[in-house]
Amino acid sequence: MKVIVPIKQVYDPRTVRVSRSRGILDIREAELMMNPGDRYALAEALRLKDEQGARVVAISMGPPEAEDILREALAMDVDEAILLSDEAFSGVDVSAAVVIVAKAIDKIGDYDLILTGCKASGDGSGQFAPRLAQHLDLPQITRASHLMVEGGKVKARHKLPDGYAVLEASLPAVLSIAEGANEPRYPSLPGSIAAYDERTVAIWGLEHLELTPDEITENTCTEVRGTLAGLERELGRVIKGEPSEAAKELTQELKGGGLMR
């Protein structure tokens, strides 16, 4: 069994500042990290490695710095790491990213499962897995947990707002792993050192992937016209006093605001 896990490097939201006056994210002091949602996909793939001997390949599209999250994945015990990096890939949107990643997945070949996070903490479109499945013409299960791989099929729970559905798909398939589906792994300490001292990250660019710059631009369909700071929410008001009086006041407020008839 071969499992491919596409992962993404994002800014650590704890280190990003929001400049409300300019409507931009201030990333001057921001630190980079592995997208938290992708850790669930890696943990699920590594569970399949431990229990069923799967070979796990982590891939990431990004600038040269993104190599660090692949090394981190190696430290968690993935078998192979590939960085898709090229000047031509900078600033691509999710639809072009899917074209690039799908090409890499084809090159790796002979895979059974593609596991992804549910959404990235950066732009958070949540479209990557569904678009990738569509592009590769593969079945998909989004927000998946409780994976069982058996007899050329994968069975998983698909999380719904009020419960879950058990879905089955033939292999190969694309699954986005639900947050909380498992306990994400820590890199091991010897693994952390070996990830830099002994292991290698393959770097594939435009040429290696047999893509042309036109294919990238043609598939980029998002245009960013501007960014806005989120609305500032005012703090709620606490209605004090006797409960019966407070309830009356609350009802009046809600009626006055058109929230209750």
């Binding site: 660090d68 090394r71 981190e72 430290a75 820590y186 890199p187 091991s188 300490l189 010897p190 693994g191 952390s192 050192i193 070996a194 990830a195 830099y196 001292d197």
Partner: protein, 388 residues
């Protein structure tokens, strides 16, 4: 000159920091109550390779060197000082004695299970009459055929109740004293004639065990001699020299944790209508803590760099331990003052920080001994010998 960490050390540091925050720190109430570190936590740490960080990969270590080890100690101390203490005594003195002077056979036999965390190590030097004066040990080792028979006691041995492998220092020739008369041995918990005596109750680091070891005709195979017969005192001193910067690193992490607690408290605690952070008296104390932390950080990682690049670091290692433990002591003292009565109460973490910090000025060479060693070295360079 470059003060940045290598990427591999950054990853190791981030991992330990997150592990300490998420897995170790939340167990503190349990550790304080039971006076022991939960087995499942130690098991998890063993699986992630926390027990052999500085040692080469050929012995099952992480190969992270002294820089990696200092990062480990710094971050562990933020999680829980008892856990840091267990790993510290295991790694930088217990296993290091074998690593520094043991034969290749001894290293191959004992280091891999120690690095994997399957067994815990301890360093047994102190005796009732030999604390700072380590040359006065009396534990006797008498040769009998291919073995040595050990008789006597060791006290206040960190990890004593948890360890299975002990680096033990004994007298093989009374007439020669510490120059040629002391020998180091690897003693396994299961050797006949070895037993645990009193397990001590302490002021702080209560999750780390401290015990008396009793040797009654304890038979140790001759092949378990660490290094050469008669050279044990040197092994002890070399091991202790080797471990000092790690302690300084632990103190650095401890002081950083203290600072964080003080900053958070001063931010919201209001007196006279304003947060106490706005009071100069508080600002001055916090500024002093920060200044000392930054000085200590430079010192710790300078020593680690010296050690990893094969340069001499003996004197600076002692300075690092001395300064580190006193920086931490001053930081916890100020922390209690900043927190006022709350800093004195058992229900709040500052009280524990204060108790846990005190030992760092005592164990692995008391501050006074460090000062003597530092001065000795300075005079030695002038050709003047001063002996303790």
């Amino acid at each position: 000159m470059d003060f940045t960490f290598e990427k591999k050390h950054e990853l190791l540091g981030r991992t330990v920091r997150e592990f300490a925050e998420q897995e170790i720190a939340p167990r503190t109430p349990e550790i304080e109550e039971t006076h022991t570190i939960p087995d499942d936590l130690l098991q998890q740490m063993a699986e992630l390779g926390f027990f052999g960080v500085p040692f080469p990969t050929k012995y099952g270590g992480a190969g992270a060197g002294e820089t990696g080890y200092c990062i480990l100690m710094q971050e562990l101390m933020k999680g829980n000082p008892s856990v840091a203490c267990l790993i510290g005594a295991h790694t930088s003195i217990g296993a290091t004695a074998i690593y520094l002077d043991g034969s290749e056979r001894l290293k191959q036999k004992y280091l891999p299970p120690l690095c994997r965390g399957e067994k815990i190590a301890a360093f047994a030097l102190t005796e009732p009459n030999a604390g700072s004066d380590a040359a006065s040990i009396r534990l006797a080792a008498v040769r009998e055929g291919d073995s040595y028979i050990l008789d006597g006691t060791k006290i206040w041995i960190t990890n004593g109740a948890d360890a299975e492998i002990f680096s033990v220092f004994a007298v093989t020739d009374k007439t020669m004293g510490y120059r040629g008369g002391h020998t180091a041995f690897v003693v396994e918990k299961g050797f006949p004639g070895f037993s645990l005596g009193t397990i001590d109750e302490k002021m702080g680091i209560v999750g780390s065990s401290t015990a008396e070891l009793v040797f009654e005709g304890c038979r140790v195979p001759g092949e378990n001699v660490i290094g050469q017969v008669g050279m044990g005192f040197l092994t002890a001193m070399r091991t202790l020299d080797h471990g000092r910067h790690g302690l300084g690193a632990g103190c650095l992490g401890g002081a950083e944790r203290v600072l964080k607690t003080c900053l958070e408290y001063a931010k919201y605690r209001e007196q006279f209508g304003v947060p106490i952070a706005k009071k100069q008296a508080i600002q001055f104390m916090i500024a002093d803590i920060i200044t000392e932390i930054e000085a200590l950080r430079s010192l710790v990682y300078r020593v680690a760099w010296l050690a990893d690049s094969g340069r001499p670091y003996r004197q600076l290692g002692g300075i690092c331990k001395l300064f580190g433990s006193e920086v931490l002591a001053r930081a916890v003292d100020k922390a209690v003052q900043i927190h006022g009565a709350m800093g004195y109460m058992r229900d709040y973490p500052v009280e524990q920080m204060y108790r846990d910090a005190r030992i760092t000025e005592i164990f692995e060479g008391a501050s006074e001994i460090q000062r003597v060693v530092i001065a000795m070295e300075a005079f030695r360079k002038l050709g003047v010998r001063i002996e303790p």
